[in-house]
Symmetry: C2
Subunit: 481 residues, 2 copies
């Protein structure tokens, strides 16, 4: 058991703290397979809640799930020039099957555009077959040199949406629709408010015309690319000859989008909210929202407190709350509190003999604060507390992001910020790849997004942070995961 | 579009019929990857409903989901002697990663016992850590020579449960608990009643002490192994040194089980119920339970029937029914009926101008029969029809199974049956591998199960079908997928 695991303070070593939080909460573990992790039940339960919420949002917006093969003929990747350049170096390659050398090696999918467009070419004949709005929940393999639990692993789980449309406009609208879905999910479920906007050419997906991203600021003031939505133009349609007959009888290539979020989101959740005690999990994504801990010293006390604790747990479960009743024998209440705190359970209800007499329970919040609540109003009290915690976490994360966003930075300020406290640096950008590379070399910061309108500074920055010429755009720089 | 696909009659060519049903219902398609299929949205939606039902049953019985790596070091497989012998010839092997030859090749998981026991050795220290009750939803690769959509594909989707216990008795109880869960799921959800019981040594899972199976009889009177639950004894615990400290301080190896069902179940569902028109899907697993088809000739009629159809659809959706409202323009009602029938939708509601006037709709069942129902009682009528169809499908499948089960067969009857109509042949078995092999050579039939008590014949068969010596057991033979 890992109960006694010490957690390194964030201030001492953020990366060590991150791993310690994961180990204490038993979210994941290292596997004997290079770069691959095991997602343990408590971590997987968070991912399942994320999947449930996202899947419902995808279906509400008209998407259907499907499943495409894991193994992709190596030649498929090569059909889109930028795509193969981006992904070929990262692939795991199957060269033997059923005891024989394969004639054509198979790549373990690093993403599924190629195999999906090979199928769409077969399925899409006419404008009446459009749009195609598909999503797939799948595992992905990308050979990574330096891996970190949840954030960067050789294998990870994700969803990948793939859509095909009759017009460029429709495909770009779809790309932005999903960017909005991702942002809403991150804010409303993860309490993790991202910046959104397009990426620069240098940072876009290999094969896309334009990539849009959600970028969230972690507690160490580094950015996490938490979700991306790509407008693919006709790139893959041309590579795989996915043509359709238009309403007026002409032939055209379909226009497409692809988009994905992954188990990396679990890492983002951890790094957005947790503290030096362990995981803090937003209530809507907490596998256990309430831990009920009965406290007794004698057998006589035990019967009464257990009875009361069971009633509370039942009432909460019936109201749709996810509850653990911790009636383990031979373990002190303090040790139980410690375990549930480490696991990020938002609310703890303590029920001792005095509480039973007074028809109450002590409600302790993982985020701080403890007060008695009457048994009669327990469901409302707990649900109210959970909703408040959810809102407070979002507000705190947004405040932290704004506290660590500096606008109108100069070159010197940008470099100083990136070598010091970190954060989001908003500044002017002339649009040239040379300036983008210059900033990166000097500061190890990249342009995370060209921020969407609501995030932009007013007035807009006048000059490029790097070359001092007229700024064509505003950019947000940060060091990133 | 595949609307005009003809379906080969079952009587002409069962295998061709099976493929035609899948193509017309758009459940799956062949992919350009050898032996791998694409699961299309309508097929994947059936799988998602299966997953939802099974996942709830696993969680109700105390299991938790987790996720283990796809890629397994080749040496792991070799640690359990029978296991490697069974699976090594079927593996796909990754020999290159990130552009380099790997020092140790990685096998794409053909099943996950080995990687899971490598982790359990780390997690399980004491009897207090037991039982471990894990399940994983994952993709699996087994190199297959002859593949068939859903039934046998190089890659397939499945769940694999893995549990570890302190005693042999507990592990075997778990194995049987899950066999019961599988059977209940197949009966109550799939309307596919299986025989259950242990397999012979020759037919057991590579690495198990004992394998229990659910075997269902398809419409061509061949058996489908639809789910298996394995008692693994201490085989994998010893191979991976998974030891724990017992309550009295000694060291012992854990006792374990593993169990799985896969997307093969979708194939079983198709072959149990469908007819020469297309798919018949049991209502509880039908992605669309009701298709509402408004019928109009003029624009004036259209407004009224659409309004009524939308009200019906809304009322049904609010009652939790999965509904498609088919208001497509420029498509005749007959063509719509044909499409929904091919997709296996259990109930169709037709709403024409006369129906609107009479405040009714025509309720047509996919399994036959059509009658008017009053709009006022539409929810009860539809839900009643769905429940009846579900029950009728199960009863019909059970009747068909019994009609094609012959008890107390002689050697000659068994061979004749297998070369003729097929079915389940119950007969005496002395228990020797030679007799098992003899029957198989003569009839191409294998022992599907040694039937559980409730399926056994009374009186028990006296002599072995093959050698004529005293029967130690009763066995059920069939040709199988």
């Amino acid at each position: 058991m890992n109960d006694e695991l010490r957690i390194t303070p964030r201030s001492a070593d953020f990366a060590a703290w991150y791993n310690d939080v994961i180990m204490r909460a038993q979210l994941a573990d290292y596997s004997p397979v290079r770069g691959c992790m095991v997602i343990r039940p408590h971590g997987y339960a968070i991912w399942e809640l994320m999947q449930g919420a996202l899947d419902a949002m995808f279906k509400e917006t008209g998407h259907q799930n499907a499943y495409f093969p894991l193994l992709i003929p190596q030649g498929f990747l090569a059909k889109e020039a930028e795509h193969v350049e981006g992904f070929a170096p990262q692939t795991a390659v199957v060269t033997r099957g059923g005891g024989k050398e394969l004639e054509e090696p198979l790549v373990v999918r690093p993403t599924s555009e190629t195999i999906i467009y090979a199928m769409l070419s077969k399925w899409v004949q006419s404008y009446r077959d459009l749009p195609v709005l598909l999503n797939q929940w799948a595992n992905i393999v990308r050979w990574e040199m330096r891996t970190r639990l949840f954030l960067r692993t050789t294998e990870f789980l994700w969803q990948e949406g793939h859509t095909a449309h009759a017009t460029s406009h429709e495909a770009e609208e779809e790309t932005l629709l999903i960017l909005g879905v991702y942002r809403r999910f991150m804010e409303e479920w993860m309490a993790m408010p991202p910046l959104t906007g397009p990426k620069t050419e240098a940072e876009k997906f290999a094969g896309a015309v334009r990539t849009y991203a959600c970028e969230a600021l972690m507690q160490d003031n580094k950015a996490l690319q938490a979700g991306t939505s790509h407008f693919l133009g006709q790139n893959f349609a041309k590579a795989f000859d996915t043509q359709y007959q238009t309403a007026d009888g002409a032939l055209d290539y379909v226009w497409s989008s692809s988009w994905g979020v992954s188990t990396r989101l679990v890492g983002g959740l951890i790094m957005t909210h947790s503290d030096d005690v362990g995981l803090i999990c937003p209530p809507r994504l907490a596998p256990i929202q309430v831990a009920v801990v009965p406290i007794w010293r004698s057998d006589a006390e035990k019967a009464a407190v257990l009875d009361s604790a069971e009633q509370l747990a039942r009432a909460l479960r019936e109201a749709g709350t996810r509850v653990a009743l911790d009636d383990r024998d031979g373990m002190k209440p303090g040790a139980k509190y410690y375990e549930w705190e480490g696991k990020g359970v938002p609310v703890r209800l303590e029920v001792g003999p005095r509480d039973v007499k007074q028809q109450q329970a002590m409600l302790a919040r993982r985020t701080g604060g403890k007060a008695p609540v009457a048994v009669a109003g327990i469901v409302e009290a707990v649900q109210g507390a959970l909703a408040e915690i959810q809102d407070d976490l979002l507000a705190a994360a947004r405040q932290r992001r704004e506290d660590h966003s500096i606008r109108g930075v100069t070159k010197e300020q940008l470099i100083e910020l990136m070598e010091g406290a970190g954060g989001f640096a908003y500044g002017g950008y002339c649009g040239s790849p040379e300036c983008e590379a210059g900033v990166q070399q000097a500061s190890k910061a990249t342009i995370r997004v060209l921020p969407d309108e609501e995030f932009r500074s007013d007035p807009a920055p006048a000059t490029c942070v790097w070359c001092g010429k007229r700024a064509e755009l505003e950019a947000v720089w940060a060091r990133a995961y």
